[in-house]
Symmetry: C2
DNA sequence: GAAATCATTTACCATTTGGTAAAAAGTGAT
DNA sequence: ATCACTTTTTACCAAATGGTAAATGATTTC
């Protein structure tokens, strides 16, 4: 819980009362490895903070291949970018996870009590999007080896606890190619 | 100017007085084809609305190749995602352009007078980012032909007025490859 | 309108990546 | 330890893409 509060305080100041109010809205949830947290087509009306573990966002492309779009690990918030619409993607636990949950409603209604809450949540959301964009941008216009090396830099804690097939589809290559690349790098 | 106001009104309601205030903060600017609007490393403290023409955002990768990261065409706002930091990328006019400009300060200070302005600008910014992400996401995990076809769908007005070399680098392929792909599609 | 310049296509071959399949390595349960 | 199962690596060949260079086409300038 400390981690969550520290995370939020990066984006604005809060007093003890406000922090307690935020805490009072949380629930905890655990996921087992391979559990789906959200299925595509369903509503995702929660805000999620990852205490432990790794989630991935994935979907099926028009050839029916499962594509990993993004990874999210400890001390990050997962916010629904398509508020009010069904999720177009799956959210799956790659490892066992411990999560802190807010209902989207509670999360939004905190702005009725906490002055500046909307500004904080907008900053959080925007920073997340910009970071995601930055990480995905390097996946275009670089060859596969460079993409893998960049992945290792940008997700330093992930390489050893995520199946290679997920990393391969994140990088836009087959797992055979990724295996070859890993061999050449050694 | 009508186009700008219509654009903003998509994100929230404004009365005539507020609209006039917004209008009073604008200046116009024209660019010739190939002019750089912003150079990498310099500050970009403006908000730009494109009345006519096409801009591109580009940079040089670690191999010194010029990479087109994104295109922006008519009736879109260009907002600096790295407020307070120097721009890491160039913004260049691909065609002759007519722009409407706000200084970042004027743009931000409108929230002192217009209730809900911050909410409107956050929505604008977030929608832009989500759209950009959506467009760029399909560039990973699809083969080059599919990427080109997707580009034609997502930027239907651009194919005929943008040099192919820019499109190629946006798609992450050489212009020779793009030329081959275009030949096969015909 | 001709020359010069820039953009696009084509050609050739080298390199990278994909597709299919099998082998090897790792994991978990009994 | 063995078996069943999953993940990762390897191998082989086909297909796609890159790199270099030249030919064609389009645009600008004088």
């Amino acid at each position: 819980m400390k981690e969550l509060i520290e995370y939020i305080l990066q984006f604005g100041n809060l007093n003890k009362q406000q922090i307690d109010l935020i805490k009072s809205k949380t629930t905890e949830k655990e996921l087992r490895k391979n559990d789906y947290f959200i299925e595509a087509g369903k509503m995702f009306n929660q805000v999620v903070f990852i205490l432990e573990g790794v989630l991935r966002i994935c979907y099926y492309n028009n050839k029916g291949e499962e594509i990993t779009k993004y990874f999210v690990d400890e001390n990050r918030l997962v916010v629904n970018p398509y508020k009010g619409e069904p999720m177009p993607e799956y959210i799956q636990a790659i490892t066992d996870c411990k999560l802190i949950l807010f209902s989207q409603q509670d999360w939004d209604e905190l702005s009725n009590t906490i002055v500046g809450w909307e500004s904080i949540t907008n900053k959080i959301f925007q920073k997340g999007l910009i970071e995601k964009m930055d990480r995905r941008s390097s996946l275009v216009s670089e060859d596969a080896s460079t993409r893998y090396l960049t992945f290792l830099e940008k997700f330093p804690t992930l390489a050893n606890r995520v199946p290679l097939s997920y990393i391969a589809s994140y990088l836009g290559i087959t797992q055979q190619s990724l295996s070859r690349i890993r061999k050449n790098i050694r």
